[in-house]
C-alpha cells in the first residue's frame, strides 16, 4: 500500500491509474473475504476447543475381529458339554533341497519324534525332492521341540485335528473321522455335510445325550460286564415323552481319538446295529396288544399247568407255577405258556400289525448310519406267533425295543428315536395304544418289579417298573443253551414315566453273588437299578413315597406261592 502513491506519481496517469486502483480495490475485497472466512473458522475452532460437548460424538467405526474359522462344526451334548471339536495342530514337512547333511538332520529329528524311524526319515531327507511329509498332526510340545532343533528346512503346515475330549465316552453315538476330517461313523457321518458346511461351522450340533448319564451307564455296564465275564454289553437311557436318547452305550467300545487301533468288533454299535432276540421283555407288547384290542382284560387268565406242544416245539416256563394264572401273574412271573395262549387269541395278523405299528418290523430311523434291520420269519406261522409273543423268533435292536416300551408307558404315543436334542418331538408322536391300556401296562410293569422277576431292579424311592428278558442265543441250527442274552428294560418313575433304562449283557456267567444265575433279573436288573439311583437326581426325578393305591387292584390278583 505504501508503494502505490509512488507508482501513481511516476508513470501512470489518468485511466491507467484508475484501472490499477480498481484492481487493487477488488483484490482488497477478496483479501477481506478470505480474512473473514478465516476469522470465522478460528472463532469456531476456539469455541469447539473451549466448550464441553454434551455428548461425545464418535465416528462410526467398524471394528472387524477376524472370525475363528474351523472346517468342521463342534458336537455338543444337551448341556453344552463339548463332545467333539476341531483344534489347530501342525504337520511337519521338509524341503530336502535345503538340507546339507540329511543324516545329521534325521538323527536330530528322530531324537525328538521318537516314533519315526531313522532310516525312513533319512531316505526322505536325501531324496532330493522339494517337498516330503515327515509327520502329520504334531502336538504343541512336539512342534516346539522341532522348532528348537533350529533346522531351517523343516516347515509346518497348519492343520486341524478332530478331538474327542471325553475319549471313549459315547464313542458309538459320535463316530469318528478320517485323517482328512471326513466323518466315517455315527453322527459324524450322518451329519457330515452339515458339520462340514462352511457357513455353519460356528453352530455346533446339539445331541440329546447327557455326558453324566452316559458315564453312569457306561460305568455300571462295565462293572457288570467284568463281574459276569460277559463278551459284550449294551445300554440305553431314553426320554419316554420325546424319544430322545439320553445315553447310549455299547461295550466293548473304542477311542475315536485313535481309531487305528480298534477292531470292527469294538466299533459295532450293539444298541442300534445289533439285533437280538430279547426274550420276555416282548411280553409287554403282547399284553398291550391284547389289552388294547380287547382280546383279554386284566381279570382274565390262562391255564399254565403244563408245557404247550406245538409242531416240534415245546413251550415251557422258566419260573413254572403249574397252575391257572391271572394276567398280572402271567406278566409278573413271566409265563411263556400263558403269553403264547394269549397271542393265539390275538391272532397272527393283529400281532403282526401291532408290532409293525410300533416300529419293531422296520429299521429304526435314528440319525446314525449304523442301523440294523430287525429279523423275523418271512412266513409268520402259528408257532411264530406264539414264540414271538415272548420274544423268541424275532430279533430287534435295543433301540427299537426302548422306543416301543416308551410308547407303551407314556400314554400310547410312539415317537421316533433321535440322538439330536429335540424337546418338541412329542408333537409328532403317533397314538398307537389307548391311554387306559398304557395305564394298565404301567401297573403290570411296576408289579413285575415289586412282585415278580424284576425285584433286583427296585431302586428305593424311584418307583421303577420293568420287565426282565432272557433269551438263548441263536446259533446255526438251533439255540445255544449256554450262551444267553440277558436284559432288563426299566421305566421310572412309574406314576409319571420319564425315562426308559435298558441294559443288556451278552453271554453273562453266573457268579457267587447271583447264585450262579445269569438271567436278566439277576445280571441286568441291578445295572438298571444302579443307573437309576445314580442318574435320577441328575435328571430331576425326586424320590417319593409310593402311592400303593395305584397298583392295589392289580396287586390283589397276584398270588405269592
Amino acid at each position: 500500500m505504501r508503494s502505490a502513491p509512488s507508482y501513481a506519481g511516476l508513470s501512470f496517469e489518468g485511466q491507467q491509474k484508475s484501472a490499477l486502483e480498481v484492481a487493487r480495490n477488488r483484490l482488497m475485497v477478496a483479501v477481506l473475504l478470505f480474512f473473514a472466512a478465516f476469522a470465522v473458522m478460528m472463532v469456531r475452532t476456539v469455541e469447539l476447543g473451549l466448550s464441553t460437548p454434551e455428548e461425545t460424538q464418535v465416528a462410526a467405526r467398524h471394528i472387524v475381529v477376524p472370525p475363528v474359522t474351523f472346517s468342521r462344526a463342534d458336537i455338543r451334548d444337551r448341556n453344552g458339554e463339548v463332545l467333539a471339536t476341531n483344534l489347530e495342530s501342525a504337520s511337519l514337512y521338509a524341503n530336502p533341497q535345503e538340507i546339507k547333511d540329511p543324516h545329521e538332520a534325521a538323527v536330530k529329528l528322530v531324537s525328538v519324534l521318537q516314533d519315526l524311524s531313522l532310516a525312513d526319515v533319512e531316505a526322505k531327507l536325501s531324496s532330493g525332492r522339494h517337498f516330503v511329509w515327515l509327520k502329520r498332526k504334531l502336538s504343541p510340545r512336539e512342534k516346539w521341540q522341532v522348532n528348537a532343533l533350529g533346522i531351517p528346512a523343516f516347515y509346518f503346515q497348519r492343520e486341524e485335528e478332530r478331538v474327542y475330549p471325553h475319549g471313549r465316552l459315547a464313542a458309538h453315538a459320535l463316530g469318528f473321522v478320517d485323517v482328512d476330517g471326513n466323518g466315517l461313523g455315527g453322527v459324524e457321518r450322518y451329519f457330515n455335510d452339515r458339520l462340514a458346511d462352511k457357513t455353519m461351522t460356528d453352530q455346533p450340533i446339539r445331541l440329546s445325550l447327557d455326558t453324566r448319564v452316559q458315564y453312569a451307564l457306561t460305568d455300571e455296564l462295565e462293572a457288570a460286564m467284568s463281574a459276569h465275564q460277559a463278551i459284550g454289553a449294551a445300554g440305553l437311557v431314553m426320554d419316554v415323552n420325546t424319544g430322545e436318547v439320553i445315553a447310549m452305550v455299547s461295550l466293548p467300545d473304542f477311542d475315536p481319538n485313535s481309531i487305528g487301533g480298534s477292531a470292527g468288533k469294538e466299533r459295532f454299535n450293539r444298541v442300534t446295529q445289533g439285533v437280538y432276540e430279547l426274550g420276555s421283555t416282548f411280553k409287554t407288547f403282547t399284553f398291550a396288544a391284547a389289552l388294547d384290542k380287547g382280546v383279554a382284560t386284566l381279570n382274565d387268565g390262562y391255564d399254565a399247568t403244563k408245557p404247550l406242544h406245538i409242531a416240534r416245539f415245546t413251550i415251557r416256563d422258566d419260573h413254572p407255577k403249574a397252575r391257572y394264572m391271572s394276567l398280572p401273574e402271567i406278566f409278573a412271573y413271566s409265563s411263556n405258556i400263558g403269553t403264547a395262549q394269549m397271542a393265539l387269541d390275538l391272532g397272527t395278523e393283529r400281532q403282526q400289525e401291532f408290532l409293525s405299528e410300533i416300529g419293531l418290523l422296520q429299521p429304526s430311523t435314528i440319525e446314525l448310519p449304523e442301523v440294523g434291520a430287525p429279523l423275523y420269519p418271512q412266513t409268520w406261522r402259528k408257532v411264530s406267533t406264539m414264540t414271538i409273543s415272548y420274544g423268541h423268533g424275532i430279533a430287534v435292536s435295543p433301540l427299537q425295543l426302548a422306543s416301543g416300551i416308551s410308547a407303551m408307558v407314556n400314554g400310547g404315543r410312539l415317537n421316533a428315536a433321535t440322538v439330536v436334542e429335540n424337546p418338541d418331538a412329542w408333537r409328532t408322536g403317533k397314538q398307537v395304544i389307548s391311554q387306559s391300556t398304557s395305564r394298565k401296562i404301567r401297573q403290570l410293569l411296576r408289579l413285575a418289579v415289586t412282585k415278580g422277576t424284576g425285584g433286583r431292579a427296585d431302586a428305593v424311592g424311584y418307583r421303577i417298573g420293568g420287565k426282565t428278558g432272557t433269551a438263548e442265543k441263536a446259533v446255526a441250527g438251533g439255540y445255544d443253551t449256554r450262551a444267553l442274552i440277558s436284559s432288563f428294560v426299566g421305566v421310572y418313575p412309574m406314576d409319571d414315566p420319564r425315562y426308559v433304562v435298558f441294559a443288556l449283557l451278552d453271554e453273562p456267567r453266573g457268579t457267587k453273588e447271583t447264585f450262579g444265575f445269569r438271567a436278566g433279573g439277576w445280571v441286568a436288573a441291578p445295572v438298571v437299578k444302579n443307573v437309576v439311583l445314580r442318574t435320577a437326581p441328575l435328571l430331576g426325578v425326586a424320590p417319593k413315597r409310593e402311592d400303593d393305591g395305584l397298583y392295589h387292584q392289580v396287586a390283589m390278583m397276584i398270588e405269592k406261592d
Binding site: 471325553h166 465316552l169 455326558t211 424320590p543
Partner: protein
C-alpha cells in the same frame, strides 16, 4: 503492521498444521490399538476353544469319579437324602446341638494309603 500480520498468519498455519498432524497420529495410534485388540480377541477365542476342550477332557466324569474316590469322603446320595421340597426339613429343637461338620475331604492318612495304591473302586458300591 502488514509484516506482523503475515507472521501471525504463518505461525497460525504452522500451529494448525502441527495440531492436525498430531491428531492424525493420535488417531492412527488408536486405530492400531483397536486392531491389536481385535487380534487379541481372535487369539483369545481360539484359546477358549482349546481351553474348553481341555476342560471337557479334565472334567470327564471318569476322572472326576477317580478323584472323588481318592480325595473325598463323599458317598453317592441315597434316596432318603434327596428332598424335593426344602420346607419339609423341620426346625432344630431348642437346646439340641448340631453335630460338627466332618468336612468333605478324606483324612490325610486314608488319602496317602489310597495314593499308594490307586486302585479304582467300581461305582457298584452305590
Amino acid at each position: 503492521m502488514r509484516r506482523l500480520f503475515t507472521i501471525l498468519a504463518a505461525i497460525t498455519a504452522i500451529l494448525a498444521g502441527a495440531a492436525v498432524l498430531q491428531l492424525k497420529l493420535a488417531v492412527q495410534e488408536r486405530a492400531d490399538e483397536v486392531k491389536a485388540l481385535a487380534n487379541k480377541i481372535h487369539a483369545d477365542r481360539e484359546a477358549i476353544r482349546v481351553l474348553e476342550a481341555e476342560w471337557a477332557y479334565l472334567t470327564t466324569p471318569r476322572s472326576l469319579q477317580d478323584k472323588s474316590i481318592r480325595f473325598l469322603a463323599l458317598m453317592p446320595p441315597t434316596a432318603e437324602q434327596i428332598l424335593e421340597e426344602p420346607t419339609t426339613i423341620p426346625f432344630r429343637p431348642r437346646g439340641v446341638e448340631a453335630e460338627e461338620d466332618p468336612g468333605v475331604l478324606l483324612p490325610a492318612k486314608d488319602r496317602e494309603e489310597k495314593n499308594l495304591k490307586p486302585k479304582r473302586e467300581k461305582g457298584t458300591s452305590l
